[in-house]
């Protein structure tokens, strides 16, 4: 073995990382463009460019009014929303896997999604019964944050703030809240469909207002996580070893738990529970490319965005009734995950 073997390998890894990052970015852009053109109304690529250029430079695009409206008010916000939600779920999945020291954790492990579902279903039910309008997104956000607060409270009482305490607290809170959701379903009576559809997770009818809720939080928290990603790596060695390497494990875990949960909370509140993206994306990137969170988080972000955008495009196109994308991701993601898992076992 020559002396520069290590340097060479490190260089190859770096090139691999940058090329995968670039490929994902370009693919994301192309798939996004194709996705805007596809749907019930046929739209050409040049129309899309015209509309975007017009919006950016503030000029009046030379496009028919109805096409402009479909592109700008319906398809673009939905596609961009799917990008950020895919990104958010994948990033928070990577964060949860690292802080819970379990490669099979996902953004929903500690019950944030159940909290949001409870909040949303409570709002839906209350709105139905009293004929008022309390926005479901706000109710879901409140539900998610209250859940996070309670989980942290229970986990802290359990002595040290370690991963199994957090998971146990999450399981307890989550099961209580899912009974709460069932109770809301009973109260909703024959209007139970609204709750069921909300929980299934769908991106239909998402507008710019949803993008504004999701995008800044996902982007800012992702960037912060990337900056402190090394401490996430160190945590993989176990709490004690991480502590003796200078990582304040309790504090880091608390901060990352909050960051991951906030991302999850906004994603779930906007679009319901979309399964498997948060589990499968970081897992695959780790398996294929690297376990280093510094690289894993950005790659997961892009891959998650690509995955959810593609899935949502299919969900849009498959039937006129629109299958909720949450069903699609789990339906396809589940078996695919089993396949990867089996292959990994055989390969050692």
């Amino acid at each position: 073995m020559n002396n520069y073997y290590i340097e060479k390998k490190l260089k190859i890894e770096k090139i691999k990382y940058i090329s995968v990052l670039a490929t994902l970015l370009i693919t994301l852009f192309i798939v996004g463009l194709v996705s805007v053109c596809m749907g019930a109304m046929d739209i050409t690529v040049s129309d899309v460019f015209k509309v975007m250029a017009g919006k950016i430079f503030g000029t009046e695009p030379n496009v028919a009014e109805n096409i402009l409206s479909v592109i700008w008010n319906i398809r673009l916000p939905r596609i961009i929303c799917s990008c950020f939600i895919g990104m958010g779920l994948a990033v928070s999945g990577a964060i949860f896997q690292a802080i819970l020291q379990n490669p099979l954790a996902d953004p929903y492990t500690i019950g944030i999604s159940t909290g949001a579902s409870f909040g949303a279903s409570a709002a839906i039910t209350v709105n139905l019964i009293f004929g008022i309008y309390f926005p479901t997104v706000s109710a879901a956000l409140i539900g998610a944050f209250v859940t996070l607060f309670i989980v942290i409270l229970i986990a802290r009482k359990g002595g040290s703030f370690n991963s199994s305490n957090i998971v146990i607290a999450g399981i307890i809170v989550s099961s209580v809240l899912s009974s709460g959701v069932s109770f809301m379903k009973i109260l909703a009576g024959e209007n139970v469909g609204a709750i069921v559809f909300w929980i299934m997770g769908s991106l239909s009818a998402k507008g710019w207002s949803d993008v504004i809720i999701v995008a800044p939080i996902c982007v800012i928290l992702t960037i912060i996580s990337v900056f402190f990603a090394k401490s996430l790596d160190i945590m993989a060695l176990g709490d004690e070893a991480a502590g003796s390497l200078g990582v304040n494990v309790n504090r880091a875990r608390f901060l990352y738990l909050t960051a991951g949960s906030v991302i999850t909370a906004v994603c779930v509140s906007v679009c319901g529970v979309i399964g498997f993206v948060g589990l499968i994306v970081p897992h695959l990137i780790r398996f294929w490319i690297t376990a280093r969170n510094r690289a894993l988080i950005p790659l997961s972000a892009l891959f998650g965005a690509l995955l959810l955008m593609t899935a949502d495009t299919f969900a849009r196109l498959i039937s006129s009734g629109e299958i909720p994308v949450g069903i699609l991701t789990t339906l396809i993601g589940g078996p695919f995950f089993i396949f990867i898992f089996m292959k990994k076992r055989v390969g050692g």
């Binding site: 073995m1 073997y5 290590i6 340097e7 390998k9 490190l10 690292a98 020291q101 379990n102 490669p103 900056f227 402190f228 990603a229 090394k230 401490s231 790596d233 160190i234 993989a236 060695l237 176990g238 004690e240 070893a241 502590g243 003796s244 390497l245 200078g246 990582v247 304040n248 780790r286 398996f287 376990a291 280093r292 050692g348």
Partner: protein, 255 residues
């Protein structure tokens, strides 16, 4: 000789019952101390207390003339390193990445590895013979190889004080001897003080400067190996009858 670690009247207990009772000992620079004793005699607990993993103790731990409680988190990480029993890592980091994690307290979150760091890690991995599988995933190598990677990780932290909790467990005989030699070289050449929990009594008595024998959470004896090497010692500490085979140069403890 410069005292690097001084433990005075250390008490520690889970719940109310004291588990470690009135522990006193001293370690000087470049010294290798082996901690021996039965399972459950408090060896691992003792070094976890000294390393700062277990905080609510009574008594004094003086590190380099300062109360260890006053030494900052970061400085402690830069100067004290520990290899824990049964290290595991569920994530597929490469062995190189695992070893380079030892530089974390020196580099922080934002700085990447420069050429000197890479050379340093290479030298540690060459020394510990882990360089051959530097780019393999930590999950894909054998238990003994993994253990060597974690030893390399502990050394790459550039410690002044190194705690080893059964570092040689799972290693074959040649690796075991080699690891002991590497660690001894760190002691003698770089002035690292090593406190080593060991179940390999022969190796401990042969290589250590001092032996700290624990029994039921108390120090049974602390001193040079040759002063402790007698049948009564083993009867008291381990409840076993042994035969000690003295040769001209060697001795062997036969149970």
């Amino acid at each position: 000789m410069e005292t690097i670690l001084k433990v005075e009247n250390l008490f520690f207990g889970y719940k109310k019952e004291p588990f470690l009772k009135n522990i006193c000992f001293e370690a000087t620079r470049g010294e290798m101390i082996s901690v021996i004793g039965e399972n459950g005699s408090g060896k691992s607990t003792l070094i976890k207390v000294i390393n700062g993993n277990l905080k609510s103790y009574d008594g004094k731990i003086i590190y380099n003339g300062e109360n260890l409680k006053k030494v900052s988190y970061l400085r402690r990480a830069r100067e004290i390193s520990m290899l824990y029993q049964n290290c595991e890592c569920d994530f597929p980091f490469s062995c190189f990445e695992i070893v380079s994690m030892g530089l974390y307290p020196h580099k922080g979150n934002l700085n990447g590895l420069n050429k000197d760091d890479i050379d340093f890690i290479k030298s540690i991995m060459t020394m510990t013979e882990t360089i051959e599988y530097a780019h393999k995933s930590i999950n894909s190598i054998s238990g003994g190889q993994k253990q060597k990677v974690f030893i390399a990780r502990a050394l790459s932290q550039k410690p002044k004080l190194l705690f080893l909790d059964e570092a040689a467990s799972g290693l074959d005989i040649s690796s075991r001897i080699k690891m002991t030699e590497i660690i001894l070289r760190e002691c003698k050449n770089n002035g690292v003080t090593v406190i080593n929990i060991s179940h390999d009594i022969n190796l401990a008595f042969e290589k250590s400067d001092k032996i700290l024998a624990l029994k039921n959470g108390e120090v049974y004896s602390f001193g040079k190996p040759k002063d402790l090497l007698n049948k009564d010692f083993f009867r008291e500490v381990f409840n076993v009858e042994v035969k000690i085979d003295f040769n001209k140069k060697y001795f062997r403890i036969i149970t």
